[in-house]
């Protein structure tokens, strides 16, 4: 486990005067800052239209600096010029919300893939800053001019070069992931992905369904790298993948950097959109809109089940009211409590109904050692309904089409053949 030294910070947020105040945003920022290991000295918010030079009023920034924190954390995104102006005027280290997210990611990234994604996201974020900072500094001097140092522009080029290298490495990771997912499909597995706002309880649900023990905590961005495990329910077995959580105003560069992770969602047969129903209705709506935004940006076309989690903290009336408030944003809702293991059988039933229907096949295998080993594989990959032993082994089974195709394609033996294959009468998604 990574231990973080205590750093101090003051949180700053500017609310648009034309829009209602958003105290929940400050709360979210506090949660993220604490999650990154900061001790919060103060929270300062201001209702003001955007200040071109400093984002907030100068007086408010001076008020924050008076607390003498290690860092000032802004909720609003800062432009390269604003970062330059504030750090020059107040001599203070400043970061914005995106930088804070990147800090958390950097602390938690454990796999090579996650580390590369975080580095790519950080470089994508910093590249324009470096460009502007350097051009602002070069207004008065030209380091490296006729000297031994390099021109400042080379730093920006270095960043761009490193980004290209990481992208190509991540492309390989993505291809490996695609091959792995296709192989899982060929083996007859259905792929189900967990998606949802950060801290909605995805990992807790994952642990309950798979009887695993991945880290699940009441803090944002506990999961960064996807984890896949099998769920063996009596209705239908499938592979469940836990993924990174979404967040409001997720910048495009972050979505692009985490493309290989989000591919787990895009290429799934079914997406479980986990929602924290204990949030107040308006926040619940805002978070769901952010999830729909992110799913749209990912290019998700898989059917969705809305898993309304944490109902153990609510009364029946509250559940009914909140459900009605989000009915236009929650496809196929099912109410559960991952903590109390409530509603899980309803969820498994719904998953079984929404997954692509299984097909019925009749396959003939040679009645020899090779045929027996193929039969043993079929027992793992599909639901074997009937086996008749004669000159050949005739197997009636229910499974994914990819599984039967793979069996026929891979087998060199002419004795293996498909006798019949028809769509079963199950209801599709």
């Amino acid at each position: 486990m990574i231990t973080m030294t205590t750093k101090t910070a003051v949180l700053l947020m500017r609310d648009d005067p034309k829009e209602p105040p958003r105290p929940q945003k400050m709360e979210e920022l506090r949660g993220m800052a604490e999650s990154a290991g900061y001790a919060i000295l103060a929270e300062i918010s201001q209702q003001k239209s955007r200040d071109r030079r400093f984002q907030l009023g100068k007086g408010k920034i001076a008020q924050a600096v008076a607390y003498n924190p290690d860092k000032l954390i802004f909720y609003n995104p800062l432009s390269p010029g604003q970062v330059y102006n504030i750090s020059k005027e107040f001599g203070q280290t400043i970061i914005d919300r995106f930088n804070l997210i990147l800090e958390i990611f950097a602390y938690r990234a454990s796999s090579k893939e996650a580390k590369l994604q975080v580095e790519l996201a950080r470089l994508s974020y910093e590249a324009p800053f470096v460009r502007v900072m350097e051009s602002l500094r070069k207004l008065s001097e030209k380091p490296g001019y006729r000297g031994s140092g390099s021109y400042d522009v080379s730093m920006y080029r270095d960043i761009k070069g490193r980004m290209a290298k990481i992208r190509s490495e991540l492309k390989n990771v993505e291809i490996t992931g695609q091959v792995r997912r296709q192989r899982r499909r060929d083996l007859g597995f259905d792929l189900v992905a967990l998606a949802g706002y950060t801290n909605a309880g995805k990992s807790t649900l994952f642990n309950v369904l798979t009887e695993e023990t991945v880290m699940a905590k009441d803090q944002p961005f506990t999961t960064l790298s996807p984890t896949t495990r099998a769920v063996n329910s009596k209705e239908r077995s499938f592979l469940l993948t836990d993924t990174v959580g979404f967040i409001d105003d997720l910048p495009l560069f972050l979505i692009k950097a985490f493309r290989s992770t989000l591919a787990e969602i895009v290429q799934a047969d079914l997406v479980l959109l986990v929602v924290d129903l204990s949030d107040p209705p308006q926040i619940l709506r805002d978070k769901l809109i952010a999830c729909h935004d992110a799913l749209w940006d990912c290019g998700n076309y898989a059917p969705i089940i809305s898993v309304l989690n944490k109902v153990d903290t609510l009364t029946e009336e509250e559940v009914a009211y909140r459900k009605s408030q989000i009915q236009d944003l929650s496809p196929n809702p099912v109410v559960i409590s991952a903590k109390d293991k409530r509603g899980l059988s309803d969820l498994l039933n719904l998953i079984s109904n929404k997954l692509p229907p299984l097909k019925e096949f009749e396959i003939s295998l040679p009645n020899n050692e090779d045929g027996m080993s193929q039969l043993s594989r079929l027992y793992q990959a599909a639901e074997v309904m009937n086996v008749q032993y004669g000159e050949a082994i005739v197997v009636q089974l229910k499974g994914r089409e990819e599984m039967a195709t793979r069996l026929l394609k891979r087998s060199n033996s002419k004795d293996i053949s498909l006798i019949s294959g028809m769509v079963s009468g199950e209801e599709g998604p």
Partner: protein
């Protein structure tokens, strides 16, 4: 719900050759369930601003019932209430996947409609 999209918001020979598509759809939170009606309205304009866009949308949605939805960028990122006041009918920006898919559908319709119009103009 009436999903709206405008194609051709760029100059061709110093003119804006626009086509606005309005599609009446029934949606679920994640997809389009049914398409009831569709209307394409062409317009040639010398300039473009919020007034021109809203007037074009107004023409396209006339006679079609339902809440109007359009991309925020199409309406210069103006606040919802402002557009609702100008249009004098219920309006919203897309929130769910279903609403986004409806606008995407309207986009395909307006884009195809504009290409047809350009083909006719060439002849």
């Amino acid at each position: 719900m009436v999903a709206v999209d405008i194609s051709g918001r760029h100059t061709v020979n110093r003119r804006y050759l626009m086509v606005c598509a309005a599609v009446v759809v029934k949606i679920s939170p994640e997809s389009i369930e049914k398409i009831y009606d569709m209307k394409l309205v062409p317009q040639v304009s010398e300039s473009i601003d919020l007034d021109v866009v809203v007037t074009l949308i107004e023409k396209a949605v006339r006679g079609l019932s339902g809440v109007v939805i359009a991309e925020k960028g199409d309406l210069y990122n103006q606040e919802r209430w402002k557009i609702e006041c100008i249009l004098s009918r219920q309006f919203k920006y897309p929130e769910s996947l279903g609403e986004r898919r409806a606008i995407e559908f309207a986009h395909h319709a307006s884009f195809a409609g504009r290409n047809l119009m350009l083909d006719l103009l060439k002849r």
